[in-house]
Symmetry: D2
Subunit: 261 residues, 4 copies
């Protein structure tokens, strides 16, 4: 116990979550993003000096910084591991297999692949990060099975500029294949939806990385990370902690991941 406590108390924590508010960047299918409406108020006249205030949340599972559960994606009605989607697996209230509630706390070695740093400049909106670019960004750092590999495209700096953020770069299909080959437990990026916006791959169709990683390899995807702090400090290897909510049957969860060094 002493070891882990001392190590944690002595570590620096990077907060990898973007702020959550109405109107923040959101994939169209995940509108309305997050709504927080305060209905219980501090006010006079409630019968005692102490008062409580609280709000109702209306929120997409995949709003803001979030993690995709394996049930989020299917090919030909099969989830990862060949689980057949039928009415016992997919219900009005979520999935009975591979839901986000089946994911253990994610505690792993984390590696940052800082693509703009590796290629020597900001990535244009729509840029598809290739396997070669990822390999360049991985120069000098080993990728191990079970890691969490985070890809920085630079989009994270544009969170407050919604059109710019939503048009941002993404990972090319060969990039997703290259990463899957290293067998991480999860990958993540600082953009809206991992893949390049609007891509329609001849073989894999839309959101091709989601097929490659989630459905075929059982690798979790984390989206809309803020990786600016890690990049600014040149951190490439870290301890990664991510604690998705156990929403029964959920296809994803909003999260606040941290990197510890």
């Amino acid at each position: 116990m002493t070891d882990v406590l001392d190590a944690l108390l002595g570590a620096r924590a990077y907060d990898l979550e973007q702020p959550r508010y109405a109107g923040a960047p959101t994939f169209p299918a995940h509108e309305p993003g997050v709504l927080l409406h305060l209905h219980r108020r501090h006010e006079h006249g409630l019968g005692e000096p102490r008062t409580s205030a609280s709000a109702l949340l209306v929120m997409a599972e995949h709003s803001g910084t979030h993690l995709d559960a394996l049930c989020h994606q299917a090919e030909d009605l099969r989830l990862f591991g060949g689980v057949q989607v039928d009415a016992t697996v997919q219900t009005p209230y979520g999935f009975t297999e591979l839901g986000v509630d089946t994911i253990a706390p994610v505690i792993a070695r984390g590696v940052l692949l800082d693509v703009p740093a590796a290629v020597g400049g900001e990535l244009e909106p729509g840029h598809a990060v290739s396997a070669a670019e990822l390999a360049a960004a991985a120069e000098g750092v080993e990728l191990r099975e079970g890691d969490v590999v985070l890809v920085r495209t630079g989009s994270g700096a544009h969170w407050d500029d919604r059109p710019r953020y939503e048009a941002g770069p993404g990972v090319a299909p060969d990039g997703s294949h290259w990463l899957a080959g290293h067998r991480p437990v999860a990958v993540g990026a600082d953009n809206l939806a991992w893949d390049v916006p609007g891509i329609d791959d001849p073989e894999l169709g839309t959101l091709p990385g989601h097929s490659v990683l989630i459905v075929r390899a059982g690798i979790l995807i984390i989206e809309s990370l803020n990786l600016e702090g890690l990049a600014a400090d040149g951190v490439r290897e870290f301890a990664f902690v991510c604690l998705p909510l156990k929403l029964r049957g959920g296809t994803g969860s909003p999260i606040r991941p941290i990197a510890l060094v």
Copy 2:
């Protein structure tokens, strides 16, 4: 880096979150707890083999295992630190001061006060855990400033029995005072609302611990923890990690805390 990563990878993680589902125990003011309704489905006929499924969440900030932000409570329209509640601080879309989005990742030494173990038997519904009982449970373990102190009442084992859970024991006002005196950064319990259900303290009124801890001492409260695993293993000291969502202006956040040993 290596130290914290090695320590984390070598640690055992206890998951302190109760499962989230419609109909789970919920404080009346926080109905409807959590609703997860799946509207996007895996199905044939969407134009390509790959499909996405996802749900909408309707959720109280204070549903399930959650953390209370400091703006959640006031006395005479003043928040912790004397912040006056007015229309610039309290808005329809949350608070501009002391919101849950202002809370850093909580990484601290954790201490478990296992009250049933200390007093030699299960606590009855409605039982008020006194300062003396907490002191007995703290025997042999030091409480330090900045700790997170978790109080086990045993309610956590009754999560699936909603009436039993909601009638469970709570912390007496003198217990909250005793804890505040040790200056933890946060306290938590395995019951619905920290305080004893229905208590109306002559001096402090309802939810007295919320005044003592949040408003007067600026100590966060965590509710509906699952402390059964820690208790079963006799863990009394641990590293505690809790990552509340940065919901702008929010009065609380659902969380999945972990204890690491």
Copy 3:
């Protein structure tokens, strides 16, 4: 114009809607019924004397007094008229065929079948109103094609007693057949779900009247009406007006029907 205006201004209107509030009787599948949470408030400090207050609604289409659209029900994946349910008809955001938005304002002759009055006493919870009982209640009043036929079971008086209301009587399968034979444009009742709670008909299964009326005959069903006023005054024939909201793709709509005499 003058005729209809004079007639309306001279008519007495019966309000057939039950009041809407959190915790009102709701079919389990339609939880949370209706939630109305006020977030915008009248308060000082908003910069001008005039202020606006408003709320967010979280509501099942089928909460409170409501009308079922034809797309609400299917048999073997076929809607009324043989419309095949596929991904072009049934979408995450509602139906592209037979949605509630395709229903014209319902303005029709209305007939009340007051079953307790006809059988000489209150109906027990679980009672199945038979074709014979409906025929007895229709004694002396003609049923014509295109009518709206409203069946009073007496449950409407128990709206404030949720368990009693939800256990109330319903229309037996032969009653639904008998009504369908008269070719009304819509039927309605003062109970939770038209059919008898928990019925599982050997031929038709659960909610048998929904198959008979909606899927096979294209007759709309209205549920949770308040028919007490009409019954108290002995009104058996009236002008019926019901204005369902044009919720695009919706399977139903909350409504406030009126009867005019």
Copy 4:
């Protein structure tokens, strides 16, 4: 009875409601307008041939075609009739006075003031309809106490062009005063918010017509009507029927009003 039924069955009904769908024109404070997410589906494997489909609605009270209740507006914390707003009147779950649930079915003589027809051309976005223009539009038709007066600006034709619709004309403060002087029970218009978008009247501030009509005169306002059908047919006088939902404590209700001639 026969009179009103015959009159209704012989009348022509104009549907004055705009269609409801996500992304339709919405006043910023009433986002997200309406969301309808289908979670219960017709599908195989549910145990019987008959299946039910249904959706959850997340909806502002003031989305789409809707009626403002008197509690929606205040001046200096007083509602119409001098009702003082305090914690017993204004609660987290709506108002205990002057809520939309206190409004009887609105059945009244209706008058259309077709301003573009009167002034001989389409009104520009931002145009403020003056008392003189309303008087011109009222030429030849009497305004009586208790009427519902509907003002056509022409915006209703632009419902599908959200920016155009939201920038549309409105009623000038002197127009609201002029109308209030005729003591209608309600007024309505085919634009987003009755008043001119962005107006800040030197005396009355923003949404000046809301003070004049609702707070000072107790006159209901109906917004986002579709008056194109009435105008196309030159209908200026009609029977008006509007049936707001009895949402307990609500500040407004979505509605589907009709005009009968």
